[in-house]
């Protein structure tokens, strides 16, 4: 089985496609309602030091997420 890559591991500027979610978390429902579904491309915009929130671009908008949520979203590079 190949290594599971999450949004958190993307470098700034890198584009990847959402594969799914690692665990069931409450935040997941809101994320899918905002359109972060499997097959949706995302781009890493900004990471902050000390595992602070990250900013991504998805569909036509910019979204900030905490590291814990970013670690829960699986992507394919």
């Amino acid at each position: 089985m190949s290594e599971q890559v999450t949004i958190a591991s993307l470098e700034t500027g890198e584009i990847a496609t959402i594969e799914g979610y690692l665990n069931e978390q409450i935040s997941q429902s809101r994320l899918v309602e905002m359109g972060l579904l499997p097959g949706t491309p995302v781009r890493m915009i900004k990471k902050t030091p000390m595992n602070g929130p990250v900013e991504i671009k998805v569909r036509d908008f910019y979204l900030s997420l905490r590291m814990r949520d970013a670690l829960n979203i699986l992507v394919k590079k």
Partner: protein
């Protein structure tokens, strides 16, 4: 909170505005109704339901309802719950809107249309207002409204821009048309449910149809929604909406049906949490394809906002710029306001002299000059400073910068038990705690929201500004410190910092004791930077200034009049033993009675009276002192408060009464003291109990007393006077 049911519903025809946060609903609401609700470039600025009247044409007027923005009808935060409760009240009550206006940020079609697709299930005609078309047209390739309308199955789709005021007249015409057409909703969901989904949801759907009388389409939609998360079920179980009263049997049945559906779906490899979103987005993709939206990914195209953020939210530069902006703001409050403040002071002095010259001597003249002009005038002087503060705050918000501040500070805020979203309410607290406390509704987690509310009044609001400004103006010299900062501006910054830092420390302490319910996340949209619109900035400055002046006009005038009587009576003749009759007035007696308690803080009886009156509103401190000095002076002239404070001497020792140390002690007291009744009334409303407001009054008063004591006694020990 006022439940929807308790609010008086308007009779007659009405329409509702719905859309994502920051899609421009309130801007459109203002254009339709001519009202002045606050708009801004921060997601979640509207946190309550608001009604206004719109004139559509000569024959037709409707009521318009503005609701908080939401991404979905499934609520996550308190402001979103207002929307889902509103919708339940339409389904279970007699009254529902005739038309829904789905306000859509056209630069962000897919995510915005998700909510539209949910609205279409309600069997109410939906007009899609594609807002912000000015921005889309710049980037080329807008979708064709007609095609989108057909593909979605809405009543109408039109282009508009609330910002540029395009298309609003057309929208009014369309509303007037659609409102008179018969409703012809489609009986089924627009997307097909697969066999296993259908068979696992059919019992829930039947329940909704049979028990609540929902339409087939909405029953299916609600069945899909109730399995996504608990908040939908809670909406039924703990509903404050009249008409939604489930009996025990219904509760049990609904819970059982839901549990069964969820576990069956899971056993067949279908995720209930993401089912609705998957189906709707798949459908929307096909809709947009039909409408001709090019499916080109523009992910790697950097927008201007993104480029600006390279600097503005830079890990190191970002916070430096933020602190720089705040320092500049507080310095400017002093630097820019001096000239207009002089004008106001002179204006009141001239007005007072004119009254002294025209009216005959007597009680009426004394009351006017000493009580009203003295008291109210002393407060209105601070209007320019408040306008500058509001101007800065509005610019920071409208530009979209505030969302970045939330992003940058989320890490720090989490460390002290708060949330990135706490930043905006707390910064609003610099203007006034009341809108700040309301703005905490966007914080999803109850614990983080409560802690934010508890510490928010420690953010120095604009009502403290007059007190700081008076004391700084009178006792802090106007000179440069470290060659760069003005001593007066710096003192002000220190006061604001003290409140802010204490708020953060206390948040950390409080969060140890308050139980955390549920998880916390920080999922926040970053709005694009926009040039603030002059008309909306000016409107906001005028609105807050008006509030300040009206407050001065009502509360402060009333208190000034009452106080004037208390200070002036009983009238005693000036004799040798009794050189200062004011000591024996009613107010003097009250002040002297509490003097022993506040003496250790460096305060005399005059400040004591001010501390009592300022429980109504903080700035009353200033008008109280002004009234006392004016009465003491005997109404020969309008007294300049700054000079009166600087020159006031102890009648026995002849020493100066007030010193920079007393001024500091008083300012520190005001940083912490619980003084504004309206704040605690709002906290009672938002937390639904008196427990928290009483707790706040207790801790803030204790903190104020101790801090002042330390400043005054410590200062004296160190040899300051």
């Amino acid at each position: 909170m006022t439940p929807v049911s308790a609010m008086k519903k308007q009779t007659g025809e009405w329409v509702a505005l719905m859309g994502n946060p920051n899609s421009g609903k309130t801007a459109l609401f203002n254009l339709l109704t001519g009202l002045n609700q606050k708009v801004s470039n921060y997601p979640g600025i509207t946190v309550e339901r608001k009604m206004g009247r719109a004139v559509l044409n000569d024959q037709c007027q409707v009521q318009v309802l503005d609701l908080p923005g939401t991404y979905s009808l499934t609520p996550e935060s308190f402001d979103e719950r207002i929307v889902s409760e509103e919708i339940l009240s339409w389904l279970h009550g007699p009254d529902r809107p005739r038309v829904l206006i789905s306000v859509v940020d056209a630069s962000n079609l897919e995510r915005n249309l998700y909510l539209t697709s949910q609205l279409l299930d309600l069997n109410i005609p939906v007009i899609v207002a594609l807002n912000m078309m000015d921005l889309v047209k710049q980037n080329g390739n807008p979708v064709a409204p007609k095609k989108l309308c057909e593909a979605l199955g809405t009543a109408e789709v039109l282009h508009m821009s609330a910002r540029k005021n395009w298309g609003v007249e057309e929208l009014k015409e369309v509303i007037a048309q659609v409102i008179n057409e018969p409703v012809h909703g489609k009986p089924d969901l627009p997307f097909a449910l697969t066999g296993p989904v259908r068979s696992n949801l059919v019992h829930l759907t039947e329940f909704f149809k049979k028990e609540f009388g929902y339409s087939p389409r909405f029953s299916w939609a609600q069945a899909l929604r109730i399995i996504t998360r608990d908040s939908v079920l809670d909406g039924y179980l703990h509903s404050q909406v009249s008409g939604v009263n489930l009996d025990d049997k219904q509760v049990k049945e609904l819970q059982e049906l839901r549990d069964t559906s969820i576990s069956k779906l899971k056993s067949q490899g279908i995720q209930p949490q993401t089912l609705e979103a998957t189906l709707r987005y798949r459908w929307l993709d096909s809709v947009l394809k039909k409408a001709g939206k090019p499916k080109v990914e523009i992910l790697d195209r950097s927008t201007t906002s993104e480029k600006a953020d390279k600097i503005l939210t830079h890990p190191f530069l970002g916070p430096v710029i933020f602190i720089g902006l705040l320092t500049f703001m507080f310095q400017s409050i002093f630097a820019w306001a001096t000239v207009p403040m002089d004008w106001i002071t002179r204006g009141f002095a001239i007005f007072g002299e004119w009254i002294l010259d025209t009216l005959p001597a007597g009680i009426l003249r004394d009351l006017l000059v000493e009580g009203i002009i003295g008291g109210v005038g002393a407060i209105l002087i601070f209007l320019p400073q408040i306008m500058i503060l509001v101007l800065f705050m509005t610019l920071l918000e409208d530009s979209g910068y505030m969302a970045r501040v939330a992003f940058m500070l989320d890490r720090l805020m989490t460390k002290v038990g708060l949330h990135g979203r706490s930043v905006f309410p707390m910064m609003t607290g610099y203007a006034c705690a009341i809108p700040g406390i309301m703005a905490t509704r966007t914080i999803e987690n109850w614990k983080e929201r409560l802690v934010t509310i508890l510490v928010l009044p420690l953010m120095s609001c604009s009502a403290r500004l007059p007190v700081y400004a008076l004391m700084i103006g009178a006792f802090i010299p106007h000179k440069k410190v470290l060659g760069l900062f003005d001593a007066q501006g710096l003192t002000l910054v220190i006061m604001y910092l003290m409140g802010t830092v204490t708020a953060l420390v206390l948040a950390k302490i409080f969060s140890f004791f308050i139980h955390q319910k549920g998880q916390s996340s920080f999922i926040m949209e970053m709005p694009p930077y926009r040039l603030p619109l002059a008309r909306s900035v000016i409107r906001q400055v005028i609105l807050r200034s008006k509030l300040f002046v009206i407050n001065a006009g009502k509360i402060i005038m009333a208190i000034s009049i009452v106080l004037w009587f208390l200070v002036s009576f009983p009238k005693l003749e000036k004799t040798n033993e009794n050189r200062n009759p004011i000591h024996h007035s009613y107010a003097g007696k009250i002040g002297h009675a509490i003097e022993p308690f506040i003496k250790p803080l460096g305060f005399d009886w005059k400040i004591g009276i001010g501390l009592i009156t300022s429980f109504a509103a903080r700035e009353v401190m200033v008008s109280t002192l002004a009234t006392i000095y004016n009465v003491e002076a005997g109404g020969k002239d309008v007294v300049l408060l700054t000079e009166a404070l600087q020159e006031d001497k102890d009648p026995q020792t002849g020493e100066l009464l007030y010193s920079p140390l007393v001024a500091l002690s008083l300012m520190v007291f005001f940083v912490y003291a619980a003084q504004c009744m309206a704040t605690f009334a709002i906290v009672r409303n938002e937390t639904n109990t008196w427990k928290w407001p009483f707790f706040m009054i207790f801790y803030m008063t204790a903190l104020a007393y101790l801090a002042s004591l330390c400043v005054y006694q410590g200062g004296q020990l160190l040899g300051f006077s």
